[in-house]
């Protein structure tokens, strides 16, 4: 039994030290995930809090064989918590909350398929900021598709719209991000 398993087992029994260790070890990565979905650090911390409570409460249901890695399992819980949070926050579920001006820009920029961009020229903060600045609908689809590796069909099922809407949202998200990247490069 490795140290992580031991910590996990102790955390299952609500041992404060084990829970604290678990939080300190995993919270930073999970907060980054939450921030990608929520767009601001305050909301992300709220989601992290709720998600971690869920994790602690359902630790006993975690089974390696079925749930895969512990980190992956925690991430799934955190993504679900983030989606619920977004759903509750924007009751109207607006995934097309983009103003017409931006839409126009996107359409103009969509054809601009410029060359490969060097990742070294962008810091993590810069990239995170770009994601956070996306409209929430675009951001959600982009996160789910790119980082969580969901397919359009799965995204459509989860977010309750069509797969084509998901594709459209992703395409627009990419276009907006590309524009932002280009702006940074020009500067």
């Amino acid at each position: 039994m490795n140290i992580e398993d031991l910590q996990l087992r102790e955390a299952i029994h609500n041992k404060p030290d084990a829970i604290k260790l678990l939080y300190e070890k995993h919270a930073p990565a999970l907060l980054s995930l939450c921030l990608r979905y929520c767009g601001n650090i305050e909301d992300a911390e709220d989601v992290l809090h709720d998600g971690f409570i869920k994790i602690i409460k359902s630790l006993h249901t975690f089974k390696t064989r079925e749930n895969g890695s512990f980190t992956g399992w925690m991430k799934r819980i955190m993504v679900n918590t983030s989606l619920n949070y977004l759903r509750d926050r924007s009751k109207e579920n607006k995934f097309l909350d983009i103003d017409p001006l931006i839409e126009k820009i996107i359409i103009e920029e969509e054809d601009d398929t410029d060359s490969m961009i060097n990742p070294d020229r962008f810091s993590q903060e810069m990239i995170m900021k770009m994601i956070c600045e996306l409209p929430s609908g675009y951001r959600t689809v982009f996160n789910m598709y790119v980082f969580e590796d969901y397919s359009h069909r799965e995204i459509a099922e989860i977010l309750n719209f069509s797969a084509n809407t998901s594709k459209s949202q992703l395409s627009k998200a990419r276009a907006l991000l590309k524009k932002k990247l280009n702006q940074v490069l020009i500067k």
Binding site: A29, L48, H49, F52, I56, P119, V146
Partner: protein
């Protein structure tokens, strides 16, 4: 389906691959405070479970110890009763001559044996363990010359009055056949232990037929005794691997039990009542308000003003938001199942009052009734588009297999109390969509009162 590679995706994925943000101290403190107050979710790891387990073990262990203690005492008592040479004090004082009784110590049992017709007290005899039975017989034969007279007297009395045991009936004719004189001579005061022992061996072992083992007889009787009994039972049960994590089930019913020796077969009818929470997904449009919509209008000619007077017919029109929203109400239902068990049993420990055994067998559950306990979902003035059941309904029939340890205690001749910690395995899920949960299992304690017919 394979995803198309995209440079933007790759860039973002690569840069944020190991991105971390340390939560603020405030957030950390808030989490740790709340986490410390989370009760342990697995209640069955907690005190209740331990209590149930320990109580069950205590009952079973106590029964076993009591049985073992009782059994060893019972053996002694059975031996004393069946041995014609050892009689209780009351009988001896009634049958023997009124002389001072001698005390003979045998195997920790202190028996006041029948004195012979003498005023001389007998010296205590310490019997050889190997010849225990012979010595006991000899207790009445202190004079080897005419040893049987006392036995005969006692035996006659016993056969006339009490007929204490089967073994005494068997042995007495053998003793009588020795044609003894009616008068018993005085016991020689000089009789010593060694002589007594040697005489005793001579007297009894050669003439008596082998004594039947009372324990064996008793066991044989227990092994072949059969009877019917009826029972009323109540079984609280905790089911796991369900959508509600732990589901509490109340079982009660009547049962018929056929017992033959150590084996039993139990069947009957029972009701199993459980509550289930069903979650619904309601898709709706919010109510925004209403307005008066022009339905139709008519015109009538007013001659005095020489104009048409319009009449407007309005109707109230509700306005709903075009955006679809979701609500997740919960509905509580009560499910009543008919249960038909077929449980086989074997008692591996048995005594007069207590027995401990194993029980195992299949149980069939058939859904009899479903009743909604909570109120129907009220959407208010929302426009409901669709209602989907998230939680599936429970199955109409399922099979279980139960196994348990049964401890029973006889309260009176006809009444028996049973307690049976048991576990059940469900061969199929309790839900119609079986793929969403694993096969359930449960633990419970059956308590039953049994009436022997």
């Amino acid at each position: 389906m394979e995803k198309h590679k995209n440079s933007i995706d790759d860039l973002f994925r690569e840069v944020l691959q190991d991105h971390e943000i340390v939560p603020s101290e405030l957030a950390r403190a808030a989490f740790l405070k709340e986490a410390s107050g989370i009760p342990q979710q697995r209640w069955y790891r907690s005190g209740i479970f331990l209590f149930i387990v320990l109580a069950s073990l205590g009952i079973i262990g106590g029964s076993a110890i009591y049985f073992l203690t009782l059994n060893s005492n019972g053996k002694e008592q059975a031996r004393i009763k069946s041995d014609p040479t050892i009689y209780p004090v009351e009988q001896q004082t009634a049958y023997a001559n009124p002389v001072k009784p001698a005390k003979i110590y045998s195997n920790n049992l202190i028996n006041e044996t029948t004195p012979a017709k003498t005023n001389q007290a007998l010296t205590p005899v310490i019997p050889d363990q190997e010849n225990e039975r012979s010595i006991k017989t000899h207790e009445y034969h202190t004079n080897p010359a005419k040893p049987i007279q006392v036995i005969d007297t006692i035996a006659n009395q016993v056969s006339q009055n009490t007929e204490k045991s089967a073994s005494s009936e068997i042995i007495l004719p053998a003793i009588k056949n020795q044609s003894l004189t009616p008068e018993a001579p005085a016991i020689s005061p000089a009789s010593d232990t060694s002589r007594l022992i040697s005489n005793a061996s001579y007297d009894t072992t050669k003439t008596q037929p082998p004594l039947p083992d009372p324990d064996k007889e008793k066991k044989q009787r227990l092994n072949t005794d059969w009877y019917f009994s009826g029972a009323i039972q109540f079984t609280p049960e905790w089911m796991f691997n369900t959508l509600e994590e732990v589901k509490f089930v109340n079982n009660f019913g009547i049962e018929g039990i056929f017992t033959i020796g150590k084996y039993s077969i139990r069947t009957g009818l029972g009701l199993s009542i459980t509550k289930g929470t069903n979650e619904l997904a309601v898709e709706y449009n919010d109510y925004l308000g209403s307005y008066n919509k022009l339905d139709s209008m008519s015109f009538s000619w007013n001659g005095s003003i020489h104009d048409f007077i319009p009449t407007y017919y309005m109707k109230s029109q509700d306005v709903y938001d075009s955006l679809m929203k979701l609500d997740y109400p919960k509905v509580v239902k009560r499910y009543t199942y008919l249960q038909i068990p077929l449980v086989l049993g074997y008692d591996f420990l048995r005594s007069g009052r207590f027995s401990v055994g194993l029980r195992a067998g299949p149980i069939l559950s058939i859904l009899l009734n479903t009743k909604q306990l909570s109120e129907e979902y009220d959407p208010g003035n929302k426009k409901v588009i669709r209602i989907n059941n998230i939680t599936p309904e429970q199955v109409s029939m399922n099979w279980q297999f139960m196994g348990g340890i049964n401890a029973s205690m006889r309260l009176s001749e006809k009444l028996i109390f049973e307690i049976e910690p048991m576990a059940k395995y469900y061969f199929n899920s309790v839900y119609e969509k079986s793929e969403i949960t694993k096969k359930p299992w449960s633990i419970g304690i059956r308590a039953a009162f049994i009436i022997k017919f």
